[in-house]
């Protein structure tokens, strides 16, 4: 049996050829720090100078002192001391400059990363829910974290260091030319060879690393899948089969690595041989120069030193190219996110905030999440100030959508929703949402304290107000039961709390902002009867005198509301009080009967 290739996230293109527009746009992020960038480049220039100075001091020491037989020994020694002192100064200066340069470059890189991350994150906050529905969480996270990290490499070790490598290379070439033009030119004959060798090596290694990466991704994807699906593997006695597949992928991965090992094993000796050729050229041609007294021993020694410094900048330069390519791919993805226009925005001149006075009005509203799949059809409904309205209906009847539209998380396609006669689209969505206290079906809790989850970090709300809200919502008692009360840290997604408790927390959260309009999308899951009672009690207190829209899954919740709206397949089918609807004997009556039956079933099933 052939076992299909495991899933590899192939939407993530890893590299892309150099794109100047993207690159220019990236460089723009350096602009606020251009002073530091220029300083860093300046330091690099100093560093290259110092690096070239070292062998030159050696040359002077040899020629003027060590090999200068014409001078008196004591004089030579004292000169030697002077050169050594000078050399020490150069070393110290180099130490300080190199350190300073490194810190400076990284700091700039980090600041740019900071700016970019803030920009992406802030931009994400403006995008509409439609965008979040379309893009998986993992992908969006990669934009803020992984992709930005890739750019970090570009800014810290890429852009600026390129100058360093070029300066160093140029400096060495210049120094050699100054010492002896002919010998320099002879030694330079190895340069093209180095360029070609590193070029070939870089391409090969890049390709084989790409292989390594994709194969490792496959291997790990398979491993992960096998771990998650271990029960199935056991059940179908597929241990041996999946091992064979794993071993095959593992072998593929090993082979890709062995190729890389091979390239490295070839590259290092090749570089050494080229280095030896350079040394040989210096011995041969330079030695002849010494014989004919056109070259000093010091210069010969300096040449030998310079020749060993050739290789690093050349290899680094070619690696920069890889960095650049990865950065292109990441920046393209980042910019495409930043270029996504927020869909739901307030008008140019939003109307000033007015307290809610009259009514919410759904006027012939139709809505579809996608194309023509109408979820709501021609809905007209008016909720007066202070009225308590419940939405009832089977799953998929459009209840939640109505609430989503009211908060303007989506815009209606037909008709309009108005608040005191003003179209929602003419308001600032933030102003609109501030009027509403929402409790969602799946209570989302942030990691952090209970306090943070109620006040949501809003310090304008006092702790007393928070506790008051929790008391009304019947949450205070169970919060106080934690040894650290409101400071109690909730586990991931509040996993330590029961569904009911989460619901009560959500009530507190909605209440604490003292909303004009209360929206509740009741949880579907089962809640123990004791907590259910607490919820019921809290709800009655919350709803008193407050305009509210309640989506109820348990009809017992809503028997006292002013009006019940029965939705079916996106249309309003029935409307009236509990008693009226029961008398009508329609859809509501049936739903109600069903509920009575389920209530008998104390244990409950998910039917």
């Amino acid at each position: 049996m052939s076992w299909g290739d495991p899933v590899v996230p192939d939407e993530e293109v890893l590299q892309k050829s150099l794109d100047w527009d993207l690159f220019r746009r990236l460089l723009r992020y350096l602009r606020p720090y251009r002073g530091r960038v220029i300083l860093a480049i300046g330091l690099l220039l100093v560093l290259s100078g110092l690096a070239i100075l070292g062998p030159y001091i050696l040359k002077l020491a040899i020629d003027r002192s060590i090999a200068n037989d014409s001078l008196d020994a004591s004089l030579r020694v004292s000169m030697l001391l002077k050169f050594s002192a000078f050399y020490l100064c150069v070393l110290m200066l180099e130490f300080v400059t190199r350190y300073g340069q490194m810190i400076l470059t990284t700091l700039v890189g980090q600041k740019v990363m900071y700016d970019l991350r803030m920009e992406i994150f802030s931009h994400l906050q403006k995008l509409s829910l439609t965008y979040f529905n379309r893009n998986p969480v993992g992908r969006l996270m990669t934009r803020v974290t992984g992709d930005v990290e890739v750019l970090n490499e570009l800014f810290t070790s890429g852009v600026v260091q390129i100058f360093g490598d070029l300066f160093l290379l140029g400096g060495i070439v210049a120094a050699m030319m100054l010492l002896d033009v002919k010998l320099a030119l002879v030694v330079f004959t190895v340069l093209p060879v180095i360029f070609i060798a590193t070029g070939i090596f870089r391409r090969r290694v890049r390709d084989s690393y790409r292989d390594v990466r994709t194969r490792l991704a496959k291997l790990n994807a398979f491993l992960q899948e096998s771990i998650t699906g271990m029960t199935v593997i056991h059940l179908f006695g597929a241990e041996a089969r999946s091992f064979d597949r794993f071993s095959f992928l593992n072998g593929d991965h090993r082979d890709a690595h062995l190729r890389t090992v091979f390239y490295y094993a070839v590259f290092f000796p090749v570089i050494e041989v080229i280095g030896a050729i350079a040394t040989a050229l210096i011995i041969w041609y330079g030695g002849r120069g010494v014989l004919s007294e056109t070259l000093t021993f010091g210069a010969l020694a300096a040449f030998l030193q310079y020749a060993t410094h050739f290789f690093r900048p050349i290899r680094d330069l070619s690696e920069k190219y890889n960095v650049l390519q990865s950065a292109m791919a990441s920046s393209e993805r980042i910019f495409s996110l930043l270029d996504t226009e927020p869909r739901i925005v307030g008008p140019e001149k939003a109307l000033p905030f007015q307290p809610f006075q009259n009514a919410i009005e759904f006027d012939n509203v139709s809505f579809a999440y996608r194309d023509e799949d109408w979820v709501l059809c021609d809905i007209s409904l008016t909720v007066k100030k202070g009225e308590r309205v419940a939405l009832v209906g089977a799953t998929g009847s459009g209840k939640t959508t109505m609430v989503n539209l009211l908060g303007r998380f989506y815009d209606v396609q037909k008709g309009a929703i108005r608040l005191d006669g003003i179209d929602l689209r003419d308001m600032d969505p933030h102003d609109l949402r501030r009027r509403m206290g929402t409790v969602l079906q799946d209570v989302f809790l942030f990691s952090g304290s209970v306090d943070r989850n109620i006040r949501l970090g809003d310090d304008t709300i006092s702790r007393e107000e928070m506790k008051e809200a929790a008391r009304i919502a019947n949450a205070h008692t169970f919060i106080e039961r934690f040894s650290d009360g409101y400071e109690h840290e909730l586990q991931e997604r509040g996993s330590g709390l029961s569904t009911g408790e989460k619901q009560l927390l959500a009530f507190s959260r909605a209440l604490v902002f003292n909303p004009e309009i209360f929206i509740l999308d009741e949880a579907t899951s089962n809640i123990d009867s004791e907590t259910e009672h607490l919820i019921q009690e809290a709800l009655e207190r919350i709803l008193v005198g407050r305009t509210s829209l309640v989506i109820a899954h348990r009809l017992s919740t809503i028997q006292n509301v002013d009006r019940i709206v029965v939705l079916h397949h996106g249309e309003i089918r029935e409307m009236g009080t509990h008693q009226e609807l029961l008398r009508q004997g329609g859809l509501y009556k049936r739903l109600y009967d069903l509920e009575i039956r389920s209530a008998v079933e104390s244990t409950g099933t998910d039917g």
Binding site: R117, N250, V261, F268
Partner: protein, 578 residues
């Protein structure tokens, strides 16, 4: 360090490679370290103005030495690093194979991410020990021994003085290395925190927007982001020292050679050639000195990682069975004899007595958490009973080999898990030897055929993120097909039709009715339509059997079953309303 002993059998397997590798390390060093002596000779003769050989001869010797050295160096890397990749391969295979032998309970209590971390990061750390660490230990050893011998012969006083900074270099790298490792961990942690914040923000975006908390979220992110930069910078403040210190220490060694070595030349104790050779040797010794510090860190990390990997390898499989090659075919009669099962100390099933005759169909009904699924999972021994015994054809499960037992069972789990391979491969997971005709028959039985036509590449369509996203019902039907592919004596359906619409469910059940004939079948379902035709129905409540009988008897009972029945009748009516 003791953890690393565990690698002995792996190292032993490649001892030939390591032996060859070490010989090559030695030879590489010999030829590398001879080279400066040639340079010395040439310069001394030049200085004395008495060349014994033409200059090109010296030049050629340098190149030839480099070539010979290059071949050995190539072999050294290829053989030793290559062996480390092979050991990584072996170790990873062993890890996977061991994981396969562990029971479901192990995977229940161990997070996937943890296992993945062992198989990736830790394995890599061990690989770094087996490969580069061992190679560089050998290399450093030979470089120091040969290099020092040669240098000491040239001028022992200069040698001792010039090498003074080198121990500092090793020590510095070692200390910086472990401190950097800690700082790096701190950065990784902060990175994880940022990731979590972003994830939380995106998953909770609805709440963020509903309560207009965007600003607060951005502020929170800003704090984390700033801390991230801080941590990065504190690492860079240290890491930034690395190269400058290296440069400084090697520079000081060079300074000593220049100053003191120059003095020795002036005072006639060293030739100019020897002086130049010394400068070359310094360059050659720099990397091994750095490597000492680096390698110590590699060994420490390798040991820590090996310890974590050993935790998995030492995990004993808790479900074991005798390996019996020959066994009579399983016919499918089942008996649960006073079976109790507790999970993490919580009783799940208590005193279950149940006999399912060969070819009989028994349905199990009950509320969520009543123990239905657990009961089913005991049959293929995904878990073992805590008390009592399960017998198959009168033989205790524990006396059968696992493969024999499981080969007789077609199990459709509650949570459908498909592998990301083609539909066909997923079905054939049940039996790889299945012919296309048999496959078609199975697809027909599980009502997959109409869906296959809709898939872009029929049953060669890849399932999952990279391929088609299937509906819950489609997934379940593939899982059913996969179980049928085993041609099982015992068919187990654990709420396997919950996502399938009512009509398809009906069709599958009708189709299976014929198929089930002669096969023992256990069905768990929340829909009574799926269980009403069973030969016997068992109601589980809180881990105990509270009702048993056939449909007609149970609806008259007035118990759990009859209430469930009434409720479902109503739902059915509601659904038919349109």
């Amino acid at each position: 360090m003791r953890e690393l002993l565990r690698l002995r059998p792996y190292l032993a397997r490649y001892k030939g490679s390591f032996a060859i590798g070490i010989v090559h390390v030695f030879l590489t060093n010999v030829f590398t370290l001879i080279s400066p002596l040639i340079l010395m000779r040439a310069i001394d003769e030049l200085r004395d103005g008495a060349l014994t050989r033409p200059l090109w001869v010296y030049a050629s010797i340098v190149v030839v030495l480099a070539l010979i050295q290059g071949v050995f160096r190539f072999m050294m890397r290829k053989v030793m690093i290559g062996a480390s990749r092979k050991i990584e391969f072996d170790l990873r295979n062993d890890l996977f194979s061991h994981l396969g032998s562990l029971s479901v309970a192990y995977f229940d209590r161990t997070r996937t991410g943890e296992i993945m971390a062992r198989a990736t990061n830790d394995l890599n750390a061990v690989r770094m020990f087996v490969g580069p660490a061992i190679m560089y230990v050998a290399n450093t050893f030979f470089t120091l021994v040969i290099g020092l011998t040669l240098m000491l012969r040239l001028d022992w006083q200069l040698t001792l003085l010039a090498l003074l900074p080198f121990p500092l270099l090793s020590l510095g790298v070692k200390m910086l290395g472990s401190r950097l490792h800690d700082l790096f961990q701190a950065i990784q942690e902060q990175y994880a925190t940022i990731t979590t914040h972003v994830q939380e923000n995106i998953t909770g975006i609805r709440v963020v927007k509903a309560f207009v908390r965007e600003e607060e979220q951005i502020e929170g992110f800003r704090v984390l982001n700033r801390e991230f930069i801080e941590r990065n910078m504190s690492m860079v403040r240290l890491w930034g020292l690395f190269f400058p210190i290296m440069g400084l220490l090697t520079g000081i060694a060079m300074l000593i050679v220049m100053g003191f070595g120059g003095f020795r030349v002036v005072s006639g104790n060293l030739t100019l050639g020897g002086f130049v050779a010394f400068t070359s040797y310094l360059g050659m010794l720099t990397w091994p000195a750095i490597a000492i510090g680096w390698v110590i860190n590699l060994i420490e990390r390798g040991a820590a990682s090996m310890k974590r990997i050993s935790e998995i390898l030492d995990e004993e499989p808790d479900i074991t069975a005798p390996e019996i090659a020959e066994a009579p075919p399983i016919r499918g009669g089942l008996r649960l004899d006073d079976v109790s099962f507790a999970y993490n100390g919580e009783p799940v099933l208590e005193e279950i007595d149940l006999t399912v005759g060969e070819g009989e169909t028994v349905a199990i009904v009950g509320a969520i958490g009543s123990g239905k699924s657990t009961l089913l999972r005991l049959v293929p021994r995904l878990y073992d009973v805590s008390r009592g015994e399960i017998l198959i054809d009168g033989v205790p499960l524990r006396s059968l080999s696992l493969s024999h037992l499981r080969s007789a069972i077609g199990f459709v789990p509650q949570e459908t898990f498909l592998f990301s391979m083609t539909v066909k491969e997923n079905i054939r997971f049940g039996d790889p030897s299945l012919s296309d005709e048999q496959l078609e028959e199975i697809c027909r039985l599980s009502r997959l055929t109409p869906d296959l036509d809709k898939f872009p590449e029929g049953w060669d369509t890849v399932v999952g993120e990279r391929g088609v996203l299937l509906s819950g019902g489609q997934k379940q039907r593939i899982a059913i097909a996969r179980a049928l592919a085993r041609n099982p004596r015992i068919l187990i359906l654990d709420d396997s039709l919950s996502s399938v619409d009512v009509n398809t469910e009906e069709a599958i059940l009708v189709g299976l009715r014929e198929y089930r004939r002669g096969r023992t079948t256990l069905i768990v379902s929340h829909r009574l339509s799926a269980v009403r035709d069973a030969d016997r129905i068992v109601v589980l409540e809180e881990g105990r059997i509270t009702e048993r009988g056939i449909h007609r008897e149970l609806i008259r009972n007035g118990g759990f079953y009859s209430r469930l029945y009434e409720r479902q009748k109503l739902i059915r009516e509601l659904e038919d309303l349109e």
